[in-house]
Symmetry: D2
Subunit: 371 residues, 4 copies
């Protein structure tokens, strides 16, 4: 029930403020016997960390994870896995100017309205700093999904401002400073981002993530639908304003004869549905797209009010990240992995274990034994 806990059977509880002593999470419900060590978190944490390139904010954090529980002799024991990261880069002085004011477009005002008290240092609990622990928990989910079911999860940036990829090359994504699937556009994007930074403004982004080898059958009607839980997971990420499954809003202008994915004995002929029908995985790739708004922390002054209700002007000093959507890619991947692993465990609970091989139409039509 806790609003800081995510997931039903694989549940992740996060805690911590941006500039408090530490952030952390408790991962409960992980099956026993999964090999896990602290070093495995580094790669994804660095993918998320600011400072990946000159095109993102310059804050640098060690983000060394300490495993506090749930792992014995390098293997998960089935008890809660607690992860801890100490906050090393406080820099509270950068935020001194917003102690008494509400930054437009931020949660400053709403937290204050809800609780009547707030930790203003670096955005406190509402800072994207919290997403660090989502990425950490996602590492566990990604590993279990890959080992147990061969499921792979990869995200990329599918739009920055008005710019969309001209081509798609999955192998280009990881080497790109923008998680961009078309290496040829990187110089253009660098020019675009440099101009944006000079202007002191920011821009939105669209991130798309795809999960392959998801077995048909994962997902629970009616209110535990796979797409419904993906929508909640993605919308809970800071700065997200929209979520699409498969064709998403493009389906509004489509015809039924065009949208429906026809089937043959060899499989589906298209994937407009994004791998989900009736809230249950179809066995096709699960495709989710997310809209990130442009950050409101910009160098251009904005009108606001202070706690006394007096008009004031706010300018974000210190770090400036012109496109927060870029480094959100591992966060989106993590949320997809966490939802899939949770649904995998829930499916096993009710319907038994479907095994590691994702069903394909011909094979699955024999039907797996259920009980």
């Amino acid at each position: 029930m806790s609003s800081n806990t995510f997931g039903k059977l694989l549940s992740v509880t996060t805690f911590g403020e941006s500039h408090g002593p530490a952030i952390g999470c408790v991962i409960d419900g992980c099956p026993p016997g999964l090999a896990l060590d602290a070093g495995e978190f580094r790669a994804d944490l660095e993918r998320r960390a600011t400072g990946r390139s000159r095109h993102t904010s310059q804050r640098r954090e060690a983000d060394d994870i300490e495993i506090l529980s749930g792992v014995y002799e390098g293997v998960t024991t089935g008890t809660p896995i607690a992860l801890l990261i100490r906050n090393t880069d406080a820099r509270s002085k950068d935020y001194g100017n917003i102690l008494e004011t509400f930054r437009p477009g931020h949660a400053d005002y709403t937290y204050w309205q809800k609780y009547g008290v707030r930790d203003p240092r670096g955005g406190g609990r509402s800072s994207a700093r919290e997403t660090t622990m989502r990425v950490a928990a996602g590492v566990v989910a990604k590993k279990w999904l890959a080992e147990r079911h061969g499921v792979t999860v990869q995200g990329h940036v599918s739009q920055i401002g008005e710019v969309v990829p001209r081509g798609f090359d999955a192998s280009a994504i990881e080497s790109s400073p923008f998680f961009w699937p078309d290496a040829g556009q990187v110089p253009e994007l660098e020019t675009y981002m440099d101009a944006l930074r000079k202007s002191g403004d920011s821009v939105g982004a669209r991130v798309t993530v795809i999960a392959d080898n998801v077995p048909a059958g994962w997902g629970e009607p009616i209110y535990g639908k796979l797409d419904g839980e993906l929508a909640a997971a993605m919308m809970s990420i800071n700065a997200v304003k929209g979520v699409e499954i498969g064709d998403g809003f493009a389906a509004v202008a489509q015809r039924g004869s065009q949208h429906r994915d026809e089937m043959t004995a060899d499989g589906f002929l298209s994937n407009h549905a994004g791998g989900i029908l009736g809230g249950i995985a179809s066995g096709q790739p699960v495709v989710v797209s997310v809209a990130f708004k442009p950050t409101s922390s910009i160098l251009i002054p904005g009108r606001s009010v202070d706690r006394a209700g007096e008009a004031t002007e706010v300018v974000t000093k210190g770090r400036h990240d012109p496109c927060v959507g870029i480094r959100a890619v591992p966060i989106v991947e993590a949320m997809l992995a966490l939802v899939l692993m949770d649904q995998a465990l829930r499916h096993r609970a009710q319907c038994g274990d479907v095994g590691a091989v994702p069903p394909r139409i011909p094979g699955t039509l024999q039907g797996a034994s259920h009980d």
Copy 2:
């Protein structure tokens, strides 16, 4: 947490198949003392019911609700409110042809993959028939929100296929066969829909719903965010493929200086955020848009497979609804109302009662007493 239950403190559990004996729901957690009688459900059920006009499917249902519990002498008692509707219009013969085959774009295939058994009559549990009970539960939430907090919820169709409203007149919506906010376009839409029906095809739609007078402070970070739960609620509706809060995907191409809603002592200067910041209501109108795919139940034959894996062809006989998004308006309203009432109760639990008057910036900056 049952996957057929929605909501944490105001929880709605629905049951029933499209052509089983009955459908129903259990509404738990409703405050005592709310006046309620069976007649109050009729209006919204008729708004949802097929047969509103010649532009939607011709199935007609009595949908008379029986209140089985939770109401004594016309007032809620705080115990579970059970609602029941008998299925009167079976028409199973219409569906005889799909007993052994999987309709492309439907949940037939995925239910069969998940459970190894399914009720094929009218789509069984995956039929939109289930949404009847969401609308019924939404009636209770709408009434409580209006009486207790002055919150109003109204939805409209904001796109059909390629057609978008030229103007916006809220008073035109209810009298429109399309829940359309521009009366002048109705003839054009009727022509559009007639052509579509003749073609035997279907089209998607976009529905937008707005809640006014939502008090600042409703919503729970981090995983119980108001927008996160709205996304889950909307994506759980049949045929939905996308959800947006405020500007949604349009924010991808916006600049931060353009998107952030500046504040003055008189209030916000814009509402790109759709009334939610950091997952918490800002006191502005809450704006949610939803993408409905074109129904896959069309008169145009589609390739599919049968349970033996053999190639076959599927044609939907019987009723044909060329744009299911139209009559989804009351469903979208209901889900918004249910999420808001649940969050209202959760806010009261942790932060105390904010009272019936929604805070405005000058007023609220005095800060309500919390405990």
Copy 3:
């Protein structure tokens, strides 16, 4: 988590008041493929029903269950199973005298304090009538446990007032009007109960229920312990004031050398623990005992107050059940079965399927494969 819903993965939501139109429940999370028909509920409902003998209250109910959903062609589909019973024996007139007063020892007063409104007819929601649906849901759990895991559940009355069984013969229980394990004592108990009825008073009872063949490993530390959830399940039954696992309160006066169950290669040497260690089943029989208070509905006048706070006197007219604990046996069995099935599904989710054969110490020491 609705307070009228029980269980995490196998969740049962009950609704209805004693003299409202109907009572019912929604069973969600049941695995698909379980054969089920309405007739299977009759036996346990009759075991619970009043009127089993002259030694219990004379109210007679048809209690015919209608299956509203979740079963297709006699088999569960994995969707919610809704069960409905119409209330046929209202007799509201019997309760006319308590409309304005609070019966001592009943929930009349506390419901009124909590909600400010209550349905007084027959105790409304607080009536033992609600337990009918627990028994119905328990029938599903008992069947699945037996078919899938060979688990059997049987309860008996282990004390009535001061009377305890002299011997224990499991085969005597079902044929006894008192679910008593010593047939030789039945005449003595009949004399005891006749005297009690003449006196217009009531007496408490102790019920013990045993589950055999429970696989080692079911149960979840730390707050989802098998014994913790059994305690909640039993204490939620009307009139229950105490719960014991294994030796229970007798353990207070025991020595550690006496209580601990030693193990050999052939198995445990005793079962003081009642089959649960650290909240997890040990593979031994699970033993739970429950204390039922004497009903407060007696023919002897009692002092109370009315809603105006004026002193008054209350006498229960109409039906009189001198020992409610006797017919609670199937309710206690049902709650044990529901907890076990829920834990079985949860164990399968995290640790994989342990199979139908309950592990014995030698066998299990090889360890089942986990993932």
Copy 4:
């Protein structure tokens, strides 16, 4: 849903093993504005800590709590409160002899059966070390209950082995090494415990805890009953085998005329019910008793098996606590306080705020406004 999380609205998630790097908890849902600092935890942690007297085990821990989040400038902010304690007193060598064997009466065997892997150091997750964090969380609940509702919680030992208190003096409890309510019996108990320690054996205990000023109305029928959740809370404590509310099992031999608590305009005439009717607080003191088994960690050899299934003998070396029930008093208090605060928030959510003054019968019969 997590089995390491306790509570619905005030939820406490604990983590950590006895000899891992640290133990901790995350308290979510606490109202904002509660003053809290790390020093406030010390008193109850010391009451629980071993080494209170020569009559309990000699392990001494600093148990200094670090507040990692949720508190800003000494006040709770409404975000999750994370508490951390580093394990300083590992002593793993004491446990070397049980790495391969299962201690009779411990969770060693069942954890291994469930997970196929376990952390054997000091009992790992199943160690009573986990209860340290329950006590810490209970400190927050006790403080909120006292400040907001004037509720006080106090526990005492009501039986050790065969010894029961001759008198009851609440003021004697805190100064007693046995939390015993009769100071005159302390010498007798010291002799009793010394003999027990010499024998190398252990004994059980009964702990009773009472909450005063609990407002009538707290508690939720049917499965969220106050007594049901108290039973789960208490049974989840290590070594607990039984739970009673009010008269508990004594009610089995009582008559209805004796058990029912009659009411007059001045209040109840007795409290056999232990302050709870129909699962809802009556406004009388809430009385809960708990049975603790004798610890199985004794110096007397016991028969057991090793992981290979071979017969072996187990002796507990190192620390030896002859009566674990004694220092469980603050744990029992903490669980009662956590259940009450959770129910207080849930009551406020559904029924509005009843205010800080617990209702008395005359006053409450006017009825508080509900909505």
